[in-house]
Structures are given as C-alpha cells and as structure tokens.
Symmetry: C2
Subunit: 331 residues, 2 copies
C-alpha cells in the first residue's frame, strides 16, 4: 500500500505528532506524460512550520487533510514521460507519500555519481543554495571581514560558515550543544565558537570572538542571541535574515529591543529573503557547491532518520535542535 | 560681544534648557587663510540628540562645555582666504556661535540668487539630500508603487513625499496635528494622510490608504506607527530607516514586536543610513532639487525661530512636533 502523511490540524505553538495523520492511499493509473515516483529521501526544514499556519507567506499554506510537501528525492519506477526513464533520480517539491505520480514539471534530475543522493536535499539543494546565494547576493562578503552565524551547526549555518571561510573571512559560530560546538570547530573550521546555552554574557562573548566587530550576521535563530550580535555590528554591517527558528512556534509575535537605532547609527542593512528570489542563479550556485564538495573544501553532516512514518517526528526534532547538520528522512 | 551655546550637561531622556549654556566668547585674531563668519541661520535637527550622548555614533559626540555644532549658513565678513570674499554666503557644520573663524575647509558657497539662504539648510541642504538619496539609493522607487512616510510634515518627510509624487508613486503621509495633515494634503500633494493622534487603528487606516499594500516605508518616527506600517508591507518592500524621533529621548532601548519574520516572509529590505554615506552624490542631488524647487514642483515650509539665544528651545520643540517643515533659527 501507499502511505501518505496529511496535515491533520494546524499546530498552535509547537507542533505535536497529532497535528499529522498517516493514511493509506491508492495510486491512480499513470496517464501519458506522467511518471510514477518512489520516495527515497525527505527533507524536513524549519520553514515548513510557517506553511502549517493558515496564512499566506511567500508560498501557499498547507491544506488540512492534504499531504505535507517538502523537498524530496525520488526514483522513477514507471515512466510515460519521454524526459524521464526508469531508474532516474529526481529532486522536487513533492508530497510526503511513499509513491506519487508527477507530470514531470519542476522535477530536477540529480546525478547519483556526482554526489550521494541525500546531498541534493542539503548542501547541493535548498539549504546549500540558500547559504551560497544569501552570502553572495545580500552579504556581499569581502575577504578579511568577520561573520557571525547563529544556528551554525544547522543545514544552512554549517554551509554558510564554510563558504565564508573559503572566501577568506573570520567565522564565528553559535550553537547550543557541546557536540555541535565540536563539529563547528573540528569539521567546519569555524575560527571561534560560542555555546549560547553555557555562555552567560553572549554580547561580551561575541565582542571577544570578534575583535574587529561583526561585519555580517547570518540570522537563523532570532531572539536574545541576535540582540547580542546586533550590539556588536560594525558600520555598513549586513544582517542576512534567513530564519528565526526561535520564533516559528510562538503564538504571539515576540517582542525585543527595537533595532532601528542600530541600523541608523551603523548604516546597517537587514534583508530577509528566501532562496526562490534568486532562482535564476541556482545553476551557478550548485555548480560551485558541487566543486567545493568534491574537492573536499565543503563538508556536510546529516542526521538521517529511517522510516517514512518517522517524518513528523524528525520535523518536530528540528525545534529541539536534535539534528546536527541537515535533517533527512530515509525511506 | 560674541555669544556661543555650549553643551552644559549630557541630557538624560528628554533634553532640557539647562543642558545648554549661553556664554560670551571673544573671537581670536584672523590668521592667513582664515575667514571670519557671521551666523545667519542655524539648522536644528533631531539627529543632534544622538551626539549629546557620550557614545560614538557615525559622528563624534559633542563635548561638555564645548559649542554644539550643526548645519549653518553664515556670511563672510572678513577674509584672509583667497577662496572667499567679504559678502560670500557659506554653509557648513559650524559652532552655535554668533561669530566664528574658519580656515574654509568643508565650507560650501551658497548662491542667494538661486534660492533663499535658509533653503540651503533644508530642501537644498542635508534634509533635502537625505530625502533624495535615501529614496533613490535605498528605496529604488518605481512609478506606480506606494510609499508611506512617517513624520511626513517634517523637513525630510515633506521632501520625501513630494519626490515620490514626482516619480509617479502613490504617497501616504502620517503626521500628528490637523495643521500638518492639511499641509500634507494641500501643499505637498500627498494622496492620503493619516493623523496618528486621532486614528484608533493605524494598521487598518494604512491598509485602507494603501489598497495595493506598502512598497516602501520611509521611517522617521519608530514605535507603534511603524509596527502598523510593517504589517502592511508588500513582498520585496523596502524600509528606509532615516530616523526614529520617538526613540531618541528614551533612556532604555524601547521594545517592540520583533520584525524578522516579516522581513523573511515578505523578502523585505530594511536599511539604516546617513546622508554622508552618499557624499559623492550630493552635487547630483542638489542640482535636481534646485531644479524642482525653481520650477515649482517642490514646495518647502519652514518654521523660523528668531534670535540666536532661542536655538536650544527650537531644538527642544522638535521633539514636541512644534515645527511644520524645517526648523530653522534666524539670527
């Protein structure tokens, strides 16, 4: 049979397992132009939380009793579409479903010989391109500058830190467990690391880790951590607002110190974005990322959860910081 | 004698008259290369409040028992500098002093035949260039877009609204007195106006005034007004953070709803700046502003206070919104 995971209820605050529902679905008959896909890997990402609210963001909300969608890797197991043959692997925004039919639109073929398949959901997929394009298009990083990355051990943050290092910057990573701190230092080559859970005065810790101040702040987290970074930002600093995982499950908009004065006195740019704003630059980004990955300059970690039915739990674990690197479900 | 106004004490919160001290000073003898200036007009501006704190901003803080400085227009009454002759009018960052000596550095000659002298402190000076360069360099305004301006009747806001109108935008101005609201409508041609003091639900008022949403928000004020605008911002919106007069006199950084989620979901740019970031574009800006002024497309109002000794009170009045247009002291 064909399992699928539906949105059972819109989460209030932190999502619960009961907000999801596992059901069995039959697969329709293949029409001309279509392919039948078997799911291999599912990407779970913090931004999906936003689509669970009944609110139009940059992308339509999920519908109740309809499948959740996210970035996935699947294998073509039957094809009536001349562009795809049996055995092709593809990535795309697909339904949380073991098998599904696609007309081939917006499916991207991925090459299992160039990188392992799951990498196309992370370092060579949405999180890697987010890091690359955010840094270059918004951050306009220059060699010798200092960048602070929150959520530095996450799927995006870890790539951000490594690219910044490749570009000749001083990299300072913030994370919340000793294991992640070790990863930042030993695997991703961050120059300095700050464990926000064991550091009393984060503002001072950042000042110490950034003797020349903060030129670029990559925002993955939000809240107190960011306030501390903002207070160390340099003139003409750039704050790349990629995500605020600490805020996604709040039912009311959290309050914090108003940032306008810092923006004015330091002439700071603060820019929110999603990687889809730069869709025309994806090929350039993926080519560069693949090159860095294959020549060993770019490392990536994955937390792999096995079993289709564990997808909702893997998603929930993101908000507990249980992943070290990209969180992926393997079917 | 030669009166001068010193910083007597660093204001705590809202400045008081006793934070200033009027003293008499003698003028030194003129050396070669110097000019003796007689003050004609003094510009008082909200940003001066920042320089009264003991804190390095984009510009050094004022020193205790030293003269306050601001943009001023003066007449050359004695000259030992070949670049200036008696009767020349100049603008520059000068001391709050009736007479002073300058070596001519950073003095800009202004032409009393092209515009009235006080205009060089406002629409053709720092406030006008701030409006022009902020809109073009950061706002990248496109015809047909909607811009909301807070502090719209102020020296910067009124020019922002008019330039946006010249560029083909829908302009919505926010101000706090009926007199200012009338000025916005009748003199500056704003399409819609909102009196924030008599409007119960500003968010709804903005939604109504901006049926196509807000593409650009020019921030002069900060606080609740801005929160309401942010909630109406469009995808790819730009928030030009020029000033936050509601925050300058706070002894603690005020809190408010964290803005990161809006920046992300709408891919919004928020940029703080000072006009000195674009100093190489001043000639272009002043040429264009002078043309618009002289062909009647750009109107400007001034609140003129007479008497050198009233300069501190004129400055304090800014924070009460007592000016309608540029606040200037005439000597």
């Amino acid at each position: 049979m064909n399992k699928t995971i539906l949105l059972n209820s819109r989460p209030v605050g932190t999502p619960k397992l009961s907000d999801f529902k596992l059901v069995e679905k039959t697969v329709a008959k293949l029409s001309d132009g279509e392919v039948l896909l078997e799911t291999k890997y599912i990407s779970v990402d913090p931004y999906l939380r936003g689509r669970m609210n009944d609110q139009k963001l940059y992308i339509a909300p999920f519908q109740l009793n309809e499948p959740i969608q996210s970035g996935m890797i699947a294998e073509v197991i039957t094809s009536k579409n001349e562009n795809f043959k049996i055995g092709d692997f593809v990535s795309g925004m697909l339904n949380w479903q073991e098998y599904q039919i696609s007309n081939g639109e917006n499916l991207l073929k991925v090459d299992a010989n160039k990188a392992k398949l799951s990498a196309y959901l992370g370092v060579l997929g949405m999180t890697g391109t987010t890091a690359y394009l955010g840094l270059l298009e918004i951050g306009k990083l220059k060699a010798g500058e200092t960048i602070v990355v929150s959520g530095a051990a996450g799927a995006v943050g870890s790539v951000v830190g490594q690219i910044a290092k490749i570009l000749g910057c001083r990299t300072v990573g913030i994370a919340g467990t000793q294991e992640k701190i070790d990863t930042l230092k030993n695997d991703y080559g961050f120059d300095e690391v700050i464990n926000y859970k064991t550091t009393k005065n984060i503002k001072e810790a950042i000042a110490k880790a950034c003797p020349n101040g903060v030129d670029v702040y990559w925002e993955n987290v939000g809240g107190d951590i960011s306030d501390a970074v903002h207070q160390n930002i340099n003139k003409f600093g750039r704050i790349i607002v990629c995500g605020v995982i600490s805020m996604y499950n709040k039912t009311k908009i959290p309050t914090g110190p108003r940032i306008e004065r810092i923006l004015i006195t330091q002439s700071v740019l603060m820019q929110g974005f999603t990687v889809f704003n730069y869709i025309e630059k994806f090929p350039e980004a993926i080519t560069q990322l693949t090159q860095w990955l294959n020549n060993g300059q770019l490392k990536h970690k994955e937390t792999i959860i096995k079993g289709f039915e564990n997808t909702p739990q893997a998603f929930l674990d993101l908000f507990e910081g249980k992943n070290n690197g990209k969180m992926i479900v393997e079917i």
